[in-house]
Assembly symmetry: C2
Homo-oligomer: 162 residues x 2
Amino acid sequence: MDTIGFEQHDHKSCVQGALSAVEAQCAAHKLQFTPVRRRVLEILLSEHRAMGAYEILDVLRDEGLGSQPPVAYRALDFLVSHRFAHKVERLNAFIACTHPGQTHTPAFLICRNCDAVAEAHAEPTRGILGKAADEAGFAIEQAVVEAVGLCPNCREGHPACA
Amino acid sequence: MDTIGFEQHDHKSCVQGALSAVEAQCAAHKLQFTPVRRRVLEILLSEHRAMGAYEILDVLRDEGLGSQPPVAYRALDFLVSHRFAHKVERLNAFIACTHPGQTHTPAFLICRNCDAVAEAHAEPTRGILGKAADEAGFAIEQAVVEAVGLCPNCREGHPACA
DNA sequence: TGCTGATGCGTTATGATATTACATACAATG
DNA sequence: CATTGTATGTAATATCATAACGCATCAGCA
Ligand SMILES: [Zn+2]
Ligand SMILES: [Zn+2]
Ligand SMILES: [Zn+2]
Ligand SMILES: [Zn+2]
């Protein structure tokens, strides 16, 4: 099941599966999956939405795991740089990756009504953007693809908005 | 000539052309192209790069056109909402549109070495992202497409980076 | 003319996001 | 057991953005 995010699902196993995958990745690549890093990923996974760094920090602080911004940002940097989480630029927020370990270019569908975020996939080097980059002689290394709109639930709920 | 941005060009006429186009648009749509708004666009056009709001504000302040952040942000909101400028989310910065008036979905090629930004075009509702959105029942209204990499000049200058 | 609403601007204050810099802890290496 | 590299703790600061209020201007209208 390769859900892209707005459907109902077995959240508990979704969290467990992602955690296990990340653990395996860290073990395989000798990455230190420290308590803070692990906890931040757990928070992101369990909330299943994009969260600001300070929002995460609030949780860490309550749990005695850290109280200053760098604690949260460092953990997030680790997760993002290893693709266990992604930054949603449009929201200045972070979200757990829905398929850690697989190399991929995330693309996000962001609901402007309920703030739900789903992770899809982009292939930046293909399509019209890749063509433009080729013509310009630009070497794409990384891409941010984020669509803002209405998620299926909100289209139903507020048909006027659709 | 539909340049997408890294080449040398006749910058003076590039600025003039864009300004004229925006003036015409404003006249046609009864938009108030006030001195502050005009000056902010001129600054963005003449610098021909992505600039932070405070950087723009510094210029305005020197010229006696405004000294507090809301002055810059309000002018930028106007320019962005009418598509005379765009926000580059990845840089938290703003850049003049290279073809104001035409309805379009901008996509940016951002050089990580020299910070040059070129505007290309995306068609978010097509391609793999549009397909994913359709399948998910998500209605795309707007898209952020930003590629980070090396521009042609920097690829030459630092071949090791390429 | 005088009222009224809409829009833009001036200013203060504050909020939200992110980083620098330096000190400390600790495990792995030799 | 000294050295080194990596992670964490903490204070301070930098950067990006908005809320809220009041005033000025101008168009539409009684
Ligand atoms: Zn992902
Ligand atoms: Zn929604
Ligand atoms: Zn444009
Ligand atoms: Zn460059």
